[in-house]
């Protein structure tokens, strides 16, 4: 009963809960992919304005690019270095709130990850719902984000942000 405070669904029946918890934590640190920690910290930074966790997960020399029309969305485009990336994430947090995201495809390497995501956002200035599809490629160095490239279905994004369709000629046969 002296271990009751440590008991959890992770405690093996009849085992030594304290030892097991330590092992579980070490194994957790060793096996969790950097993407999951980064993803939690990024979404925390966007929705809760909490960038402390994120700062520890970004390399000083990070190379960052989200391709898209920067005239309309100044928080898209390229950034270099941790301070610039923290600042641009703050700008993203000023403009959108994440309601939900679904990871439709994912590939993990040892220090890299690529996924395709569908986001449900709200544009904070207009209170408009925005549904966004993007693909990202991330590289990590010692658990910190060292490179991020994001491709977005930007025409769809622009039409939703404008709130009206853009008339397009049919150009193909």
């Amino acid at each position: 009963m002296q271990h009751a405070g440590l008991a959890s669904p992770m405690t093996p029946p009849g085992g030594r809960p304290a030892d097991f918890q330590i092992k579980f934590r070490i194994s957790d640190i060793m096996t969790e992919h950097s993407l999951w920690r980064f993803s939690r910290a990024l979404h925390g930074a966007i929705n809760d304005r909490q960038s402390k966790d994120l700062e520890e997960l970004i390399d000083e020399e990070v190379d960052w690019a989200i391709y898209g029309p920067i005239d309309m969305f100044p928080f898209l485009g390229a950034r270099r270095g941790k301070a610039a990336v923290i600042e641009v994430i703050r700008q993203i947090a000023d403009n959108v709130r994440v309601h939900r995201f679904d990871r439709e495809s994912i590939l993990l390497g040892v220090d890299s990850a690529a996924s395709m995501l569908r986001y449900s956002l709200t544009a904070l200035d207009s209170n408009k719902p925005i549904s966004l599809r993007l693909a990202h490629f991330a590289q990590f160095k010692a658990g910190r984000l060292s490179s991020l490239r994001v491709v977005i279905d930007t025409f769809d994004l622009v039409e939703q942000a404008l709130g009206r369709p853009i008339h397009l000629p049919k150009i193909a046969s």
Copy 2:
């Protein structure tokens, strides 16, 4: 000298060139990722209208989607099954020619692959050069493409196809 016709940079010095060539070929077939074969066949089908190789590399039940404005580009969108995919690749071949592509990021799994690519194309109807960035996620079954998802920086594509910028309001702070 009787092996001179088989000599190549792959021939080991003093080795048995014919045997070595056979081994090299088998090892090549076994280790080449399905992505490379599919990529060669796809580009052959687009530029040379040669779809025979490609037909052997597409699963009958293939699930295919290139996200983008289908009003302007009817060859974008979703397709299901080999016949529909072969047909849409023929439509793509009717509309563009690939000059060059650079694979900027890549992640390979056993039966899957994701990459970010930058293409230099010509739109055949207008003879306009088009520069395109996209990300794809592909899955293979027994060496054949079973699923493909492509995200394109579509706003940039639309502006290039129109040949003029679309005026956008600045919506973000």
